[in-house]
């Protein structure tokens, strides 16, 4: 999927990934790449401002973690983030259902 397709659903992808477990940025990017079979093509560095935006909205929280002699910022989903994820998932299902209804009959 191209950049536009990815960025349009970036929040949903990040929140859904963090539902699995808390992750730092690099692990999060790896997770999205693996789960999508390398389908998403995007500048990886732009994930960090996106995570910060989600943190501004209290949908995720973060803290520095020292592991293997390296400091990494680890992000976790908040309860508000879980609720937002549920809403975005429902919206996404409605959206793909509508597209499928049109495209599937083509």
């Amino acid at each position: 999927m191209g950049r536009d397709g990815f960025s349009g659903h970036l929040d949903l992808l990040l929140l859904a990934s963090l539902r699995e477990r808390p992750m730092h940025g690099y692990a999060l990017i790896e997770h999205v790449r693996r789960a999508s079979s390398g389908h998403f093509d995007y500048p990886e560095g732009t994930i960090y401002p996106a995570l910060r935006r989600l943190e501004d909205q209290a949908l995720v929280r973060s803290r520095w973690n020292d592991a293997d002699g390296r400091k990494r910022r680890v992000y976790a989903l908040t309860s508000k983030g879980s609720r937002a994820l549920e809403g975005q998932q429902a919206e996404w299902k409605r959206y793909i259902g509508s597209v499928q209804a049109v495209v599937g009959h083509g």
Binding site: Y26, I29, P43, E44, Y48, A50, R52, D56, Q57, K71
Partner: protein, 146 residues
């Protein structure tokens, strides 16, 4: 643990120079990007190299643009919050003025319940309102086992 080269340092310097916002926030983002580069170098099994890692990160202007968008949305949220607080303050002020204009009195003072006057009588009567009953009971009624 793989070492960063000058290319990464130049990349980080350029990124830092393009970022807006407080120094603390800019430092944090650069530290995260630096950590990302180190992780990617460690996992660079295919030997794709540092330059490709930097390319996958996106150019510094691309990241700076995403960062600016985040800062802009944060400022918008703050402005909305301030506007909401100002509106709430103005509403409270208007209500107070309206109450005053209607001849309303300030809420009764809980500490002096006997100042209440009924329209039919000027006698001081014990106030049995909620305010009065909230006063502390004497020590012997407090149920304190001591």
């Amino acid at each position: 643990m793989a070492e960063r080269s000058d290319a990464s340092e130049r990349y980080l310097e350029q990124l830092s120079s393009l970022l807006v916002g407080s120094a603390r926030e800019r430092r944090r983002l650069c530290a995260e990007i630096r950590s990302h580069i180190d992780d990617a170098l460690d996992r660079d099994d295919g030997g794709s190299g540092e330059l490709q890692i930097l390319e996958q990160l996106g150019s510094p202007p691309q990241i700076a643009q995403a960062w600016s968008a985040r800062c802009h949305s944060q400022r918008s949220r703050q402005r909305r919050r301030i506007a909401l607080l100002a509106a709430a303050g103005a509403t409270a002020g208007l209500l107070a003025v309206a109450q005053h204009a209607q001849g309303g009195q300030a809420p009764r003072d809980c500490a002096s319940p006997t100042t209440h006057h009924s329209s039919s009588s000027r006698h001081h009567t014990p106030d049995t309102s909620t305010c009065a009953t909230m006063r502390l009971r004497p020590a012997q009624d407090s149920g304190d086992p001591s």
